[in-house]
C-alpha cells in the first residue's frame, strides 16, 4: 500500500494531502513490525496504545493542525521511559517495569503529534557496540542478518534501515547513535551535550549520555531533533541559554535556503580531516595491528571528494590523543555507571531475587541475577577506579586527559568549520565475532569516543559500501551548537549522492 522505505517528509506530504490517515499509517507500521520480527529490533508492541495515539493525531489533523510530525509513526529506544509500554533498558533487571511518567523526549514528541509504534531493543543499559549485550537477544542487521547492527541503539538503527519506521530516537554515550547508523546505512545525529533533556533516560554515564535522532535523511533528523531539544527544569544538566534553546529546524532551513548544493554549495567550507584517523594503526597492548580498514577508507575519501568537488577545502588537523580517548572513556563511563547503577537494589523497582536470607543477600542476589556480564564488568571497573587510593590515579587522571582531548578539538576548530572522518574502523562484523573479547570491542569505538568526551555534536551519514556490501558511515563533527550547520551540509551532500536512498534488498 505504500513505499517500502518512507521518510518523514514523504509521509507528512501524504497526510497533508489527505491520502492517508495517522491510523492507517499506524496499522501499516504495526504490520511492518510483525513482518520484520526476525530482526529482533522491536520489543512487544501494544496495538491499543499505538492506535490511541494515532486516533488522537487524526483528531488534530481533522481540526486543521499541520505540524510536520503530526501522525508520523516512530519508535523509541527502550532506554526512554514510557507510561504505557514497559521499559527494560535491555536488562533483565527492569523486565516488566512500567514507568509512572514519560521521559521528556517522549513527552515532547507526543506533543508534536508523533505516533509511537513501541520500544526498540538495545544493549543492556546502553553498554555495548554490537547490541549483543541485550538481555533479550541480539538485533540483526537488515543488510545481512548474520551481522550486528551496531550498538547500543541497534534496534533504533535496524528499524529505520528495514523501513519499519521513518525515524527513531536513540542515545549516544560513546558512539551509540553514530556507530549503529553507520553500520545500518542510515543518518543519525547526537547533539551537543545538554541540548536534549536526559530526564527519563535510564542513566548510564550522566556526563556523556545524550539523546538524538535517526532517520534516512539529514532533513528528517533535523525535524525530529528539533522537536526533542530544549531546556528542561527536570534535568539540571540540560542547557538553558539562547544558543541552546535556538530552533535547530529554523536555523537548518535558513542555512539550506542560503546555498544550493550544485552552485558551489560547499564554498568556504573548511573540512578538518584528522590524519590520525585516516592512517591510524593503533596497537594498544598488541590487541590489534590494523587501523581503519581499506574499504572504509576508500568510501570516506570518495565522500570527501564530493565536498571538495563542490567548493570545500580539506585541512589536515591533528587529534593526537585519539587513542587515549579509549582508556579515558572507559574509566569515566564505568565510574559513572557504577554510581548510577547502585540504585538497583530490588527494593523500589526492578528485579528482586526469589531466594535470600536477609536484606543484604536480597540486594546481592537481586543485582547478581538482574545484571548481565558486560554490565557487571563495568560496575566492577567503575568501583575500582573510584576506590580509595585509585581515585586520583585513574578517575581524576581520566578527567584531566578528557580536558586535553576537548582542547584538541577546540584547537582544530580554529582551522576548520567541520571535522570529517570515519565513524568506525570497519563495517558491521559477524554476530559473535568479537563478543568474547571486551577490549577488541572497545577499540571499535576509537573514532566516536572523543566527541562524546568533549560533549560535541556528531553525525553519521551513509557514504558508500565496504566489503560484503555493508554500509559505511561518514562522521561529521561540529563545534558546540553547530547542529543546524552540520545537518544542512549533510543535507546538501544527500542532494548530490544517493547513498541514503539505498536500502537492504533493493540496492541499485
Amino acid at each position: 500500500m505504500s513505499e517500502a522505505y518512507p521518510t518523514i517528509a514523504s509521509l507528512a506530504e501524504r497526510i497533508r494531502t489527505k491520502q492517508i490517515s495517522a491510523t492507517e499509517l499506524a496499522e501499516d507500521g504495526l504490520r511492518r513490525v510483525a513482518d520484520n520480527a526476525a530482526l529482533n529490533a522491536f520489543f512487544p508492541v501494544s496495538r491499543d496504545l499505538t492506535l490511541a495515539e494515532a486516533k488522537a493525531a487524526d483528531v488534530r489533523i481533522a481540526a486543521g493542525e499541520t505540524s510536520p510530525l503530526l501522525g508520523i509513526p516512530i519508535a523509541h529506544k527502550d532506554i526512554f521511559v514510557t507510561c504505557g509500554w514497559p521499559t527494560t533498558a535491555g536488562s533483565k533487571m527492569l523486565e516488566g517495569y512500567i514507568s509512572p511518567f514519560d521521559a521528556t523526549v517522549v513527552e515532547k514528541l507526543k506533543a508534536a503529534g508523533v505516533v509511537s509504534l513501541g520500544k526498540l531493543n538495545c544493549d543492556e543499559f546502553a553498554m555495548g557496540s554490537s547490541n549483543e549485550n541485550s538481555a533479550f537477544g541480539a538485533v540483526k542487521n537488515p543488510w545481512d542478518r548474520s551481522r550486528i547492527p551496531g550498538g547500543s541503539s541497534g534496534g533504533s538503527a535496524a528499524a529505520v534501515a528495514a523501513g519499519i519506521v521513518p525515524a527513531t530516537t536513540g542515545t549516544d554515550t560513546g558512539g551509540s547513535l553514530r556507530q549503529p547508523a553507520a553500520m545500518c546505512g542510515i543518518t543519525a545525529i547526537k547533539p551537543t551535550y545538554g541540548r536534549v533533556s536526559r530526564y527519563g533516560m535510564v542513566a548510564f554515564a550522566s556526563s556523556l549520555d545524550q539523546a538524538g535522532s535517526m532517520a534516512h535523511t539529514a532533513q528528517d533528523c533535523a525535524l525530529l531533533l528539533d522537536a526533542m531539544a530544549g531546556s528542561d527544569e527536570r534535568d539540571s544538566t540540560s542547557l538553558n541559554s539562547e544558543k541552546a534553546n535556538a530552533s535547530i529546524w529554523r536555523a537548518f532551513s535558513a542555512n539550506i535556503a542560503s546555498k544550493h548544493p550544485l552552485n558551489k554549495g560547499f564554498e568556504n567550507l573548511r573540512i578538518g580531516v584528522p590524519k590520525e584517523w585516516m592512517t591510524y594503526a593503533g596497537d594498544l597492548e598488541g590487541t590489534r595491528t590494523d587501523g581503519i580498514h581499506m574499504d572504509v577508507a576508500v568510501a570516506i575519501h570518495h565522500a570527501l571528494d564530493v565536498f571538495t568537488n563542490h567548493g570545500a577545502t580539506l585541512v589536515d588537523i591533528p587529534l593526537p590523543r585519539t587513542a587515549l580517548s579509549i582508556p579515558a572513556y572507559y574509566v569515566i563511563a564505568s565510574a559513572e555507571a557504577s554510581s548510577n547503577l547502585s540504585r538497583f537494589d530490588g527494593v523500589r523497582y526492578g528485579h528482586r531475587a526469589a531466594e535470600y536470607t536477609d536484606l543484604n543477600s536480597m540486594i546481592f542476589n537481586s543485582r547478581t541475577e538482574g545484571f548481565g556480564h558486560e554490565v557487571k564488568r563495568r560496575i566492577l571497573t567503575g568501583a575500582y577506579v573510584l576506590s580509595h587510593g585509585y581515585f586520583d590515579a585513574y578517575y581524576l587522571q581520566a578527567q584531566r586527559v578528557r580536558r586535553l582531548i576537548a582542547e584538541d578539538f577546540q584547537a582544530a576548530f580554529e582551522h576548520c568549520d567541520l571535522i570529517m572522518g570515519p565513524v568506525a574502523p570497519t563495517t558491521a562484523w559477524k554476530i559473535g565475532e568479537k563478543s568474547k573479547n571486551p577490549t577488541a570491542m572497545y577499540l571499535e569505538d576509537i573514532f566516536t569516543l572523543g566527541v562524546s568526551l568533549a560533549g560535541l555534536p556528531g553525525m553519521s551519514i551513509p557514504c558508500g559500501f565496504g566489503l560484503n556490501n555493508m554500509p559505511v558511515g561518514l562522521q561529521i563533527i561540529g563545534n558546540y551548537f553547530d547542529e543546524a550547520k552540520m545537518l544542512a551540509d549533510a543535507h546538501r551532500f544527500q542532494q548530490l549522492t544517493d547513498w541514503h536512498q539505498q536500502h537492504p534488498g533493493v540496492k541499485s
Binding site: S236, E285, I326, T381
Partner: protein
C-alpha cells in the same frame, strides 16, 4: 595491572555482587585486559591540567540548570506500583532489626 581473585572478590563486595567461582576467573582475565588498555593513561603528563567533569566547561563556566527547590507531591500509588513487595503503602524489605 592484574586482578587476582581476592582483589576481585573485594571489589564485588563493594559493588553488591556475588561472583561464582566460574565467573571469577573469566572476570579476572577480562579485567586484567581492560586495565591493560586503561593503564595507558598513566603515561600522560597532566601536570597543571584540571579534571573536566562537565564537557562544556572547556568553553564556559557551567552552572547547573536547577529549578527552585520546591517539594512536588508524588502519587503514592504510582510510586509503589513497581515495587516487588509493599505493605501498608510502604516498600517491604526483609527484617533488618531483630
Amino acid at each position: 595491572m592484574s586482578f587476582d581473585p581476592t582483589a576481585l572478590t573485594q571489589l564485588a563486595k563493594l559493588s553488591s555482587l556475588n561472583l561464582a567461582p566460574a565467573t571469577l576467573s573469566q572476570l579476572s582475565d577480562d579485567m586484567s585486559s581492560i586495565f591493560g588498555l586503561i593503564d595507558a593513561l598513566q603515561a600522560v603528563d597532566t601536570t597543571g591540567i584540571a579534571p573536566l567533569s562537565h564537557p562544556l566547561d572547556t568553553i564556559a563556566d557551567m552552572t547547573l540548570n536547577c529549578r527552585e527547590d520546591v517539594a512536588v507531591a508524588t502519587d503514592p500509588v504510582s510510586a509503589l506500583a513497581n515495587a516487588p513487595e509493599t505493605e501498608n503503602g510502604l516498600f517491604l524489605v526483609p527484617r533488618v532489626i531483630e
